[in-house]
């Protein structure tokens, strides 16, 4: 998680011009950027505050005003090698998917400790060893080994095949 100063360009409809314009801009900024993902910065978790709303430029033609706002936000950018705690969302024979907030992580069966075997006979498909079970909603500590950054999404694969990784209680 990083704190980052970011910019966002807001187009404001003329109907918002007026005394509460700044509130509208702020509101719109929140609506626009929170929860989005950019490849460069990762997921924008929350806007902390608006540093500068910027000067609105009315664009010719449609009357909308363009504000280039500067704001400070908490971003979540996963890095390779990062160890994260996650919640398992689904398990299949190839491995399992886990979520770290907005980030989806896939842990391949290859990257699960060989002791843990996939068990499809159980009520919930799971990876199980003698003392540990990974199934849906299990909390798992994993390490990212690779990320793929799309324009609107980050996908990562992780491993629990190392010391101190795996199920956490």
């Amino acid at each position: 998680f990083l704190q980052k100063d970011l910019h966002h360009t807001i187009l404001l409809h003329p109907s918002y011009f007026g005394s509460r314009m700044h509130q509208h801009i702020e509101q719109k900024l929140h609506a626009d950027v929170e929860g989005t993902c950019s490849g460069e910065y990762g997921y924008i978790i929350a806007v902390l505050d608006v540093i500068d709303v910027g000067v609105g430029l009315v664009s010719v033609g449609n009357g909308q005003a363009e504000f280039i706002t500067t704001y400070r936000a908490i971003v979540f950018k996963p890095f390779k090698g990062e160890v994260l705690d996650s919640v398992v969302t689904s398990v299949n024979k190839m491995g399992f998917f886990a979520e770290v907030g907005p980030l989806q992580v896939f842990v391949s069966a290859h990257l699960v400790h060989p002791d843990m075997k996939f068990d499809s006979t159980a009520a919930n498909a799971c990876f199980a060893s003698q003392d540990q079970v990974i199934e849906k909603d299990t909390h798992v500590r994993l390490k990212l080994v690779g990320t793929r950054v799309d324009a609107t999404e980050i996908f990562a694969i992780g491993t629990i095949k190392e010391d101190h990784l795996g199920v956490i209680d």
Binding site: H13, S15, S19, A31, V145, T147, R148, D150
Partner: protein, 1196 residues
């Protein structure tokens, strides 16, 4: 020449070819190689012969003379040379020459010395004798020579000498410079002859036989050589002096297209035709080959044994045995109809018709073909139909020509399949297979390496070293190791290097079946890399050689033809679908019914666009492609909307495995995932500001809301008026077209019933379901004036103001004012005038009085806006010209004055408005009764007072009326705050009436109060009228007796304090009431509270402070909830204008703000948007407008 080696291209050494044609060619080649020299020899011979014949010619004599002269000039030299040449023929010539020179000098010296000696000294006798002897000898010799050496002979000698040297060079053929061997114009030409493809070799053989046959006849073939190249099918090449010779030679040979022109091969291309690509491929047991022809064409086979030094191979492959042969095939060897068999065999032996690869299963075959067809040779070996089968494979001998040996490139799948067969056997064979694969893979690997690749050395001395490939030089590569202690670049053999990938890398497949797939590497196992595909979350295993780290993010190019992944396509007129997977040349398409089709690009009719399509979701909210939606029912899958078609929506979610994550669902089965959280209707401040002041007070400027259908009626209170349940009350639970599911209140039973049997129960009155009571919108505060009007109409209808109002209530005209649905005009035909006038300020502006009948027409036409505009002004004129009224002249006059305007009014007015009771008379009645009937204008009302002209005549009444209308108009467009007061004035004196007109409209617009359900409405019964139409009812209730002036205040008893209402002074005195901070409504639109308490915060009134007129009353508020956490719990003074009471909960306590119970704290029995049932005392209950009650703070 390799071409002529039968089918062994590059396999055997060329030197081993001793086929006839090859011999022919080789002969020729040898000739060419020795070319110049031998030909020269021949020519020499000719020349010699010629010389002999012409020996005694003049020319020869001349030659002789010349020779003689030469001889004479250097007699000694010649002789010596001659001698030497004769003596030492094998001595190196060059050395000889130098030696020669030396000798000559010596001799000369010697001779000179002798002369000197003779001249100067007496010579000894012996010496003299010796000298004489020598002289004589010399003389003799010279004479001898002279006689012997004929010119021709000398020439011959000279030539001999040169010839010797030349022949000596011809000795080493191997070192003849290549350029000397190149053909030139003097050589025979090469001719290209078209032949039947496949027959080239045979034709070359035929040519050889023909040449041999005719060699010693009178007409030998005049061709030098012939050859073909397997790489150039359909043509052979013949070497000959002329095309005619070629034609003669090839004439009559089967397969030669003699009609085709014989082309001359340009000289520069001749050599390239004969160039041999030297390639040594060692075929050894275990190598992979492919079968060239027949049923097994293209199948992978493995060499088991090599016979005859490579002339024959035993290979094994997976058999393709027809396990469902036709009847006649089963009886092998039996007599069958030849034709049929041939066709079938032909089919079987084509690639299309052949049976699938399958391991040989003796029992299975025995079942089909009979036990006898199989002979067991060894434990697991059989013969069947002449072929040998062992361990499931077919083993057969093939000639090299029948096998493709180069470019085999077995795929992983093939090899897996191949090996799977042998898996049951001992592992050795398997291992060998894998080795072969690996080798093959490595051989390939060399060619796919690129500088910059991450590689690792996996064999040899440097095993384990990995680094970055720096450069490739031939078979070696330079690697810069990534290890710490190794700085220098190392050089290793390319084939012991392989690409190296690390877990987590993003890679792309460069070749093979999975070409263009991208994904993240999961594991690396030697040469095999497993990665997770980006597109479908599948694991894919490929050779490292086929991979490359992909810089580009995202998926492969999923285009086939013009269509790409997730494109929206029409398959036929009724079927559309979304492409969810692409193959090499086909798509998988999910159609709107959820079926999956595999289609080729040409089967797709067209691509469709759905970017602009808007669907309605479960909440009846719009959504479009790209929105995130979640299923309401069913699996609850969520996804991004890809496309919308009719009522189907195609969504995509990566995590869903089937159909590539694409699924189809019904539009009304999905909703926004945040719908619950955010509440419907708020989607962020994009586009138009719903709260923005409507600049002209018109409703039409807003976006036209979609037809909401009847779903809005869900939850409505209804009474059943027909059928067995007649008389029961219930609530609507579900709507399906015109049938409703209604839960009977008393029995909690849900029944399905038609629309006709239901009436809405609104405030004790029954209304048809399809009557436009847009309460829902009003409640939602969608905030469009139209809706507001509707809402208002509803509330107006509900005001329990008695019969007169009741009649008003019945006329949905108010609702009609929304103008959205034409219906209202039909039934509300009488009232809409109001709405129309109220909504269209223009008429006033235009002030064109001429058109009064507008009213009438408006009432009749469903489109009031269009027509009314022009016509309403009639009212205006009347209103504008208050004088008539003001003058207090008789109604007739008044009307007449106004009725400069059209007749109808004049008539109406002229006649007593009573007649207005009929039809458009509604208005008439309205006027007369002004209102009395509240526009509802029922005849009875009209009668009641409209009939009496006096009530109409009073100037006050008239003024009130017109003024009221004005205010109404204003009221609609604007906040009542403004309008309300005006009428007041308007009533008292007509003058103001004119004043309000345009001004009000301009400033009027914010309809918000309506939507906000502000207490304006909440004002007790007549209050709403007071607020809006305050004027109107005023006249109505009072006008009878009174003059205009009192009428005004009168109707609205307490709450008649419209201004106060706006200032929300009804809140004065309220304590512990929960209120919300809202914008204040001014004539310039909403004005937010600028204090630190944000809009929407709620608080509890601690105390209120009343002030004199001119100052705002304030309330001291304990903030309960707010978006600014800092103010919660603090106490703030806020003007009442910015406050709005919060509606009490059902069962909770409420503070009555207005009406007869004002100031009391009561318990709310039930409450909806319109009415609240409150307990006024033990066992007593009453119904008051919802807006008259406010929630009482009940503690945290």
């Amino acid at each position: 020449m390799s071409s002529t080696a039968i089918g062994t291209t590059g396999v055997r050494n060329v030197d081993e070819d001793y086929d006839d044609d090859t011999i022919l060619q080789r002969e020729r080649a040898r000739l060419k190689a020795s070319g110049g020299a031998e030909e020269e020899e021949e020519e020499d011979g000719d020349f010699e012969g010629g010389g002999d014949e012409d020996g005694d010619g003049d020319e020869d004599e001349e030659d002789e003379d010349e020779e003689d002269e030469e001889e004479r000039g250097r007699p000694k030299k010649r002789s010596k040379k001659h001698r030497k040449a004769r003596v030492s023929q094998f001595i190196d010539f060059e050395a000889e020459v130098s030696e020669d020179d030396g000798d000559e000098d010596e001799d000369e010296e010697l001779l000179g010395d002798a002369r000197d000696f003779i001249d100067e000294n007496e010579v000894k006798e012996s010496d003299a004798a010796l000298r004489a002897l020598r002289d004589h000898q010399r003389l003799d010799r010279r004479q001898q020579e002279l006689s012997d050496s004929e010119a021709a002979e000398i020439a011959d000698q000279i030539r001999d000498r040169y010839r010797q040297s030349a022949t000596r060079y011809t000795g080493d053929l191997d070192q003849v410079p290549q350029r000397l061997l190149m053909p030139d114009v003097k050589d025979p030409s090469l001719w290209q002859v078209r032949v039947r493809p496949g027959r080239e070799r045979d034709i070359v053989f035929s040519l050889i036989r023909k040449a041999r046959d005719l060699e010693y006849t009178n007409h030998p073939l005049e061709i030098m050589s012939a050859f073909e190249r397997s790489s150039l099918p359909g043509m052979i090449y013949v070497e000959a002096r002329s095309a005619a010779h070629v034609r003669a030679a090839t004439n009559g040979l089967v397969g030669v297209f003699i009609s085709n022109p014989i082309n001359l091969v340009p000289i520069e291309e001749m050599s390239s035709l004969l160039r041999i690509k030297k390639k040594e491929i060692n075929i050894e047991p275990g190598s992979w080959v492919r079968i060239r022809r027949g049923r097994y064409q293209g199948d992978l086979a493995q060499v088991v044994h090599v016979f005859d030094n490579g002339e024959r191979y035993a290979v094994k492959y997976i058999p393709r045995i027809d396990v469902s042969p036709q009847d006649d095939d089963r009886s092998l060897g039996g007599n069958k109809t030849a034709g049929k068999k041939r066709t079938r065999n032909a089919l079987i032996n084509t690639v299309q018709g052949r049976p699938p690869q399958r391991a040989f299963n003796a029992e299975e075959i025995a079942k089909v073909y009979g036990v006898r067809s199989i002979n067991r040779t060894q434990k697991r070996s059989f013969t069947f139909q002449g072929d040998e089968y062992a361990h499931g494979y077919c083993i057969k001998d093939y000639k090299p020509s029948q096998l493709a040996i180069e470019d085999v490139q077995p795929t992983l799948e093939e090899i897996t399949k191949f090996s799977a067969l042998g898996a049951g056997e001992d592992g050795a064979a398997n291992k060998m297979d894998l080795n072969v694969i690996r080798e093959a893979a490595q051989r390939m690997a060399t060619s796919v390496l690129q500088p910059g690749d991450n590689v690792e050395v996996f064999e040899g001395q440097q095993t384990g070293v990995y680094g970055v490939l720096q450069s490739i030089s031939g078979d070696n590569v330079l690697i810069k190791p990534s290890l710490k202690d190794m700085d220098e670049v190392i050089e290793v053999v390319a084939k012991s290097v392989r690409k190296r990938f690390q877990t987590g890398e993003h890679v792309k497949v460069m070749s093979g079946k999975n070409v263009d797939e991208t994904g993240l590497v999961l594991t690396v196992n030697g040469n095999n890399v497993t990665f997770l595909s980006d597109t479908n979350q599948q694991e894919i295993t490929v050779f490292a050689k086929d991979l490359r780290t992909a810089a580009e993010v995202g998926t492969s190019n999923n285009m086939v033809g013009n269509y790409g992944l997730h494109d929206f396509v029409s398959l036929d007129q009724t079927t559309v679908g979304v492409i969810f997977a692409t193959g090499r040349d086909s798509f998988r398409v999910l159609d709107q019914y959820g079926n999956v089709h595999t289609v080729q690009p040409h089967q797709i009719a067209m691509r469709r666009e759905s970017k602009k399509t808007i669907g309605l979701d479960h909440e009846r909210q719009q959504f479009k492609a790209g929105d995130n939606m979640v299923e309401v029912e069913g699996a609850g899958r969520s996804g991004v909307v890809l496309h919308i078609y009719s009522f189907s929506a195609f969504l995509h979610n990566r995590t869903i495995k089937e159909n590539g994550g694409v699924f189809v669902t019904q539009c009304h089965n999905i909703s926004r995932p945040d719908a619950l959280r955010r509440g419907a209707g708020t989607r962020g401040p994009n586009g138009f500001n719903p709260h923005a002041p409507n600049p002209n007070g018109m409703s039409v400027s807003g976006p036209v809301p979609e037809n909401k259908g009847n779903f809005r009626l869900i939850g409505a209170l209804v009474t059943i008026v027909l059928g067995g349940y007649k008389g029961y009350d219930g609530t609507i639970k579900d709507v399906n077209g015109t049938t409703y599911r209604v839960e009977i209140q008393s029995t909690r039973k849900v029944i399905t019933i038609g629309q006709d049997s239901l009436r809405r129960k609104i405030n004790g009155m029954l209304k048809k379901l399809d009557e436009p009571v847009e309460d829902r919108d009003w409640r939602n505060g969608a905030g469009f004036s139209s809706n507001r009007n509707g809402g208002w109409g509803g509330s107006g209808g509900q005001t329990p103001s008695g019969g007169r109002f009741g009649s008003g209530g019945k006329t949905p005209g108010w609702g009609a004012s929304s103008g959205r649905t034409p219906n209202p005009y039909a039934d509300g035909g009488k009232t809409p005038a109001w709405s129309s006038s109220s909504k269209t300020p223009n008429p006033y502006a235009s002030a064109d009085g001429g058109k009064t009948p507008a009213w009438v027409s408006s009432s009749k036409t469903p489109n009031p806006y269009a027509t009314d505009g022009g016509k309403t002004p009639a009212w205006n004129t009347s209103s504008r010209t208050p004088n008539p009224y003001a003058s207090g002249t008789s109604g007739g006059d008044a009307w007449n004055s106004s009725a400069r305007t059209p007749n109808p009014y004049a008539q109406d007015g002229g006649r007593t408005p009573a007649t207005g009771g009929s039809g458009r008379g509604g208005w008439g009645g309205g006027e007369s009764g002004a209102a009395s009937s509240g526009w509802g204008g029922s005849a009875s009302n009209a009668d009641s007072f409209g009939g009496t002209s006096p009530s109409y005549t009073p100037s006050g009444g008239a003024g009130g009326w017109s003024g009221s209308r004005e205010t109404d108009a204003g009221g609609w467009g604007s906040t009542p705050a403004v309008t309300a007061p005006t009428p007041g004035g308007g009533v008292s004196t007509p003058a103001p009436i004119s004043a309000p007109t345009p001004g009000v409209y301009g400033g009027a617009p914010t309809p918000a109060p309506y939507s906000a359900a502000t207490p304006l409405y909440g004002a007790p019964t007549p209050a709403p009228y007071g607020a809006y139409g305050a004027p109107t009812p005023g006249p109505m209730s009072v006008p009878y007796g009174g003059t205009g002036t009192p009428a005004w205040g009168a109707p609205t008893p307490g709450p008649g304090t419209a201004p106060a209402d706006d200032r929300k002074e009804y809140l004065l005195g309220a304590k512990d009431v929960v209120v919300k901070v809202v914008p204040k409504y001014t004539e310039h639109g909403p004005e937010p509270w600028n204090g630190d308490v944000p809009e929407g915060s709620t608080g509890r009134i601690i105390s209120t402070l009343a002030t004199d007129v001119g100052f705002t009353s304030t309330a001291s508020l304990m903030i309960l909830t707010s978006t600014h956490a800092s103010v919660i719990g603090s106490e703030r003074p806020i003007p009442l204008e910015y406050l709005e009471p919060v509606r009490p909960d059902e069962g909770g306590r409420a503070y009555v703000l207005t009406g007869e119970y004002k100031g009391r704290v009561v318990r709310v029995r039930s409450i909806d948007q319109d009415d609240a049932f409150i307990e006024t005392g033990p066992g007593q209950a009453d119904q008051i407008p919802t807006r008259s009650v406010a929630k009482v703070y009940e503690g945290p």
